[in-house]
């Protein structure tokens, strides 16, 4: 317990350094550039204390739970030797973490109403709602699929850049044919899918798999799952736009 407390104090000290740039930037622009006093200084200071303590506790939990959990899962699957279940797990993890993501729900609803305004899909609440839902599932399936491809790549040891370059080529080609209303949202959907809890877990899983399998290097083969999870949603949402338009 004492150990944990000491670790926590160190963490809080570390997070002060992490947050200092934000405080400096906000302070500088507010006072020097905008010439405005900072209203509610006490509230802001209190908020910053919450941010600091929260970040410190989160990092502590990261090393106690998320990293070991990702690694032990990777080891367990590697020992079990069942490719099928590993891929089902990868899909489930990607799909499950994305489908309920609040940022995605908001973006999907917004995207559907923009497409209705642009005349890409029929107007009316029912059509908009059903397209928003379809878009949400499209993104969730795409993240599930990207983890499946990513894990498969780690097992095979294929170099990542061919996948990513091909993926970007696909994005560029689809951008040319997709309805313009959906392009911006498609690009942004890649960014919203990778949440703060998914990233450490998925990273630990990838690195754990690459360490557990003979002949794989955790640095070259272990990273890259997040890259797939941010690229494939763009491709899937653009395809969604093309299909809906047709």
């Amino acid at each position: 317990m004492f150990e944990v407390m000491r670790g926590m104090t160190m963490q809080v000290a570390g997070t002060i350094r992490d947050l200092l740039p934000i405080v400096l930037v906000v302070g500088f622009f507010q006072i020097v550039v905008l010439h405005q006093p900072i209203d509610g200084l006490a509230e802001i200071a209190l908020g910053l204390v919450f941010v600091m303590v929260g970040l410190a506790i989160f990092i502590q939990g990261l090393e106690m739970a998320l990293f070991p959990l990702g690694e032990s899962l990777a080891n367990a699957f590697a020992q079990k030797g069942s490719l099928f279940w590993l891929l089902v797990f990868a899909f489930g993890l990607g799909f499950g973490t994305t489908v309920a993501e609040p940022a995605l729900i908001a973006i999907a609803a917004e995207a559907a109403s923009i497409m209705a305004e642009g005349g890409v899909i029929p107007a009316g609440d029912a059509a908009v709602a059903s397209h928003a839902l379809a878009l949400r599932y499209t993104v969730a399936v795409s993240v599930g699929t990207s983890l499946v491809i990513g894990v498969w790549r780690i097992l095979k040891g294929w170099p990542i850049h061919w996948f990513i370059i091909a993926g970007y080529g696909l994005v560029v080609a689809l951008t040319a044919v997709a309805p313009p209303e959906i392009v911006g949202i498609a690009y942004d959907s890649g960014g919203v899918t990778t949440s703060t809890i998914t990233v450490p877990l998925v990273t630990a899983l990838g690195v754990g798999l690459a360490s557990a399998i003979k002949g794989r290097n955790p640095m070259v083969d272990g990273f890259g799952l997040i890259a797939f999870a941010s690229l494939l949603p763009i491709v899937f949402v653009l395809i969604f736009g093309v299909v809906v338009q047709a």
């Binding site: 303590v53 106690m64 070991p68 370059i165 690009y187 919203v192 360490s211 990273f223």
Partner: protein, 267 residues
């Protein structure tokens, strides 16, 4: 004070709800498929509680302290009255937005340094590369990437040049760098594109993009407000590979061009 506590509880419950599907998948596979006890179960459970609690406090603090002032700032800095500074509104050119570009750069850098998922990936990268990649080196490289991307992105909104030109140029640079960068860094560089746009950065970036798109004449918030995040996921790949290339080049100058590459972790 009562409302304060209520809001805190609200954020905590919200975080729990976000975590629920992940927990469900993990527990389901642990019990249904792997049928194996999690090592150090008690520690993992306490750690998971820390993750949820820490994230809830973090988000709550951001909502209380940072987002309101950051969003207000993004609005005031993009306000034509501020940008024109005495000039007639019609005479504003793209150079008058210099404070916007500087703010975009500074806030992009600062929020990325505080981004929890990037901290997680940086810790892992340091572990795996056995210190070959320092956590701070990676975080600063990524933060510079996001900072540049936001400056370029705000410039793009002000001038109204099409997004795809920037994206294609960026991809071309990524492809060329991939051919020449140390092989070890490539997957990590690709990953760092995705982790940057998360809890801290996205809300402020969205405020900046929408603020600009709604005040610059001729821009639509719907079509031009997006795209900052897309650039912010692209540029860090370039700066992280660039960082590795510079490190390798500096290390290689000493021994006749042979670049020592960071060794992988335990095999």
């Amino acid at each position: 004070m009562n409302g304060f506590v209520l809001q805190l509880v609200d954020t905590f419950v919200g975080t729990l709800r976000d975590v629920a599907p992940i927990a469900l998948v993990l527990v389901g596979f642990q019990v249904g498929v792997l049928r194996r006890k999690v090592p150090h179960l008690k520690k993992v459970l306490i750690g998971s509680f820390y993750v949820v609690l820490g994230l809830a406090l973090f988000l709550f603090g951001l909502q209380e302290a940072l987002f309101p002032i950051g969003e207000m700032m993004a609005q005031s800095l993009t306000d034509p009255a501020f940008v024109a500074a005495g000039k007639p509104i019609g005479a504003i050119t793209w150079t008058d937005y210099y404070w916007t570009y500087i703010f975009a750069f500074a806030i992009g850098f600062a929020t990325t340094i505080a981004e929890p998922s990037l901290i997680a990936v940086a810790i892992k990268a340091r572990e795996v590369s056995a210190g070959g990649i320092t956590a701070w080196g990676l975080r600063i490289a990524v933060a510079i990437g996001v900072a540049l991307s936001l400056s370029v992105g705000t410039f793009r909104i002000v001038t109204g040049t099409p997004l795809y030109l920037y994206m294609i140029a960026g991809y071309a640079i990524v492809i060329v760098q991939t051919m020449f960068a140390p092989r070890m860094i490539v997957p990590l560089a690709y990953d760092s594109g995705g982790v940057t746009t998360s809890t801290v950065t996205v809300p402020l970036v969205a405020a900046l993009g929408l603020g600009l798109a709604s005040t610059v004449p001729g821009r639509s918030a719907l079509m031009d407000g997006f795209g900052l995040i897309a650039l912010a996921s692209l540029f860090p790949m370039i700066t992280v590979m660039g960082y590795a290339q510079i490190s390798a080049w500096r290390a290689g100058r000493g021994d006749g061009g042979k670049t020592p590459q960071p060794q992988g972790g335990p095999q």
